[in-house]
Symmetry: C2
Subunit: 178 residues, 2 copies
């Protein structure tokens, strides 16, 4: 997939609608993927994101140790692979191999981009004060990539127990909101 840099000032518009994302990490050259639905924007620019990652998840320890990840945003075509990554453990499974997703090198972090995702956000962990109590990591997006050919991404949004809402039509209203 051919991607271009995406302005950091616009990153909030990718995450604010609440899509399921895939978080990639790497430790000792071994990449990993996990599925995440619990995230929120915290600041526009630099873009800060709050990510809740269970300490029962293999990614938790890697993120704490390496302080780097990539937030990859999939669309509906990838739904089966997204759920597949949610149903196995990264500790015992190489999710890139089992899911047949393609890791590509990021620019500023060691964690890989998932090529098939239309957007990729390279992140550094900047605050862990709520990590022990709530498994909440605050990360800063330091570089962002997008596939400019995807105009209306059919993101997926988890409703619970394997049910997902697929992004529908777009409406435009007059707004003072950023």
């Amino acid at each position: 997939m051919s991607k271009i840099l995406f302005p950091l000032s616009k990153v909030y518009g990718l995450l604010e609608p609440g899509p399921v994302v895939m978080v990639t990490t790497a430790r000792k050259g071994r990449p990993n993927i996990m599925t995440m639905s619990w995230h929120t924007m915290i600041e526009f620019e630099p873009p800060l994101v709050g990510c809740v990652i269970s300490n029962r998840n293999y990614t938790f320890g890697i993120l704490k140790a390496t302080k780097e990840c990539v937030i990859n945003i999939p669309t509906a075509e990838l739904a089966v692979k997204v759920v597949g990554c949610g149903n196995t453990s990264g500790a015992t499974t190489d999710r890139f191999t089992t899911s047949r997703l393609t890791p590509t090198a990021a620019g500023r972090v060691k964690a890989p981009l998932i090529d098939e995702c239309y957007a990729n956000l390279e992140c550094k962990v900047v605050d862990t004060r709520l990590t022990n109590k709530y498994c909440l990591f605050t990360v800063e997006v330091i570089q962002a990539w997008i596939d400019p050919s995807v105009k209306r991404p059919r993101t997926i949004h988890h409703l619970g127990r394997g049910a997902f809402m697929v992004a529908g039509r777009t409406i435009q209203l007059p707004s003072k909101m950023k």
Copy 2:
């Protein structure tokens, strides 16, 4: 709207897809509404929600003082009113009057429910450690209400600058995720 109690164990499924919500508060008998898109689930049960509310917003001070709010979830029919509440200040405008939304009494907090919203979550603030730095409040949902006649809520999801994605079709995949 006729509502019934909704199990707290299922609340995550309402917020995890990332809808725009309306947060109501009350101080000295005066109710207020603000629009919020920056929120994440933090825990399943009791349901904890991370809410980012700018300290430039009138609601910030009220929430800090009263430690109570209601998270109301609107559907697409209310989009114009949702944006209207985002485009005015609660400090100078009675948003219930200008939006013609209907406040009804909550059971366990002083903040009102918005009757027209299909779901209402009564909340108490339980952690403010990241409030000064990131305007992040951790709230616990202590009682939840739902309109049982709404089977497929057309929630709205903010894409930025007044553009909203309306919830589309639902897909079901086999999942071990809760």
